[in-house]
Symmetry: C2
Subunit: 278 residues, 2 copies
């Protein structure tokens, strides 16, 4: 549970910190970022943000504009990395959508990935334990993410009812078994048995398991990945059929970038703060 | 005056655009970013942000969190690059503090720089003409910047009374003739005659020329460059002697990063909006 501080910068009265630690489930060094608000509380609610393809713990904390809002709401933000790195796996860095920067928030079953690429257990189990051991937090947790990280947030939330009190996403991959990104990742990490893929597909999961609050999703109508990779309609239909409350907002003219995320980040932090305060 | 649009992304109801154009004074291709607020006005005030060493037109627009405030105030933001690039000058990219990413907002007098590295004329003359020709702006202009760009904002403002209605800076190099960064840049761009350096030194300039409004500066007390490179006390003293109004705020515990800038960006946009509306 020992973590090493890489850097600390004051921001909106609190601190942005970058940390690293030896991960058991990922079998190597992992980095993450935390925004600690200026609140004196010892039982801060924790909000995890899962980033998208190619991102590191730095993208969200530098680009989204969330710190001011987290300071106002008294939320501790945690930004994990998007995969293990420097594991020694051949060609780990070759593709933007597989290997480093593309862990897809699954526990890999296949060689050469399975010794390291266990981001699902890392996000839901190991990292929360590390946060509880090192920061003044309560057991109240929320989760959100962008694109691949939106998929991760929905999957972590739906697979673990009770673990998170709030779930939201920006432009998530809601039906990865039907998207080229998801198919490539799942085939490599999980193998050819497509039945195993369904356990990491939000549109499939919500048919089996719902959460007792509304999920918030923002999706830009000008998102370049909307039609081929994201397909929010699949998830909307599945939620309707399963009586899962969902607030999916199509945002006219917005693309897949952090310019989109920053525009609506205040709504997401407001949503999480409300559910985490109950 | 022709510009080419590289990309457009909606952001807080307006648009973040990246553009490029052939620059006469820099004798090559230059890039810049603009945030155009959702205002229908045809006479928007323009606020120029000059970035620091190693930055591109992307840093401020992705990290500072200024767009929401520019949208609220109805300001058009312009983010120039920090130097010409790809000019063919040998070793142009070698150093972080000379050549590409380090134009220092001067008009170079020395070989090999003088054909291209004319950022002072670019910022004060050529780029404003391009902005006026391509965007719905008025002649009301403000200028601000960070570190090397804070130096640039102070110098452009003090050398051209009446051109800018507001000047602010984050952690500026206020006395470059006394700082190692400034000395290296000025020696290479301007030559050995140190008398020529004084024309680009805010602390020297303010002795000769003041502006009829208060200059706003924020400086972090934990800034790693404070003592060796930034030396705000020199400028404070010179302003006091010259009866130049100055609001220099030491911000306890803040460093040189965009986490610092983002924390105080709202105050700066408020300051500029007020002066630009008069």
């Amino acid at each position: 549970m020992t973590i090493e501080t890489i850097s600390l910068s004051r921001c909106f009265g609190g601190n942005v910190g970058f940390y690293q630690h030896q991960s058991k489930v990922c079998n190597g060094l992992m980095k993450f970022a935390v925004y600690q608000p200026p609140s004196p509380a010892e039982d801060l609610p924790v909000l995890y943000f899962l980033s998208g393809l190619t991102c590191t713990p730095e993208n969200f904390i530098t680009k989204a504009g969330a710190q001011q809002l987290a300071a106002q709401h008294g939320l501790l933000l945690v930004m994990p990395d998007t995969s293990p790195r420097n594991t020694g796996i051949v060609n780990e860095d070759l593709d933007d959508d597989l290997g480093s920067g593309a862990g897809f928030y699954v526990d890999a079953l296949q060689e050469p990935w399975r010794q390291h690429y266990n981001m699902y257990s890392y996000i839901t189990q190991e990292l929360p334990a590390i946060i509880r051991a090192n920061f003044p937090v309560s057991d109240r947790q929320g989760i959100f993410g962008h694109s691949m990280g939106g998929h991760g947030a929905l999957v972590c939330g739906l697979k673990n009812p009770g673990m998170y009190r709030s779930i939201s996403a920006f432009a998530p991959i809601v039906n990865p078994v039907m998207s080229p990104w998801g198919q490539k990742a799942f085939k490599n990490y999980l193998g050819d048995d497509e039945a195993l893929w369904l356990g990491y597909d939000a549109t499939e999961l919500v048919k089996q398991q719902q959460v007792p609050f509304s999920i918030l999703i923002d999706q830009g109508s000008a998102d370049q990945f909307l039609v081929e990779q994201l397909m929010p309609d699949q998830f909307t239909q599945a939620c309707a059929n399963a009586n899962q409350l969902l607030n999916l907002r199509m945002q006219e003219g917005y693309d897949h970038s952090y310019y989109f995320i920053s525009t609506f980040i205040a709504d997401h932090l407001q949503y999480h703060a409300e559910l985490l305060s109950r």
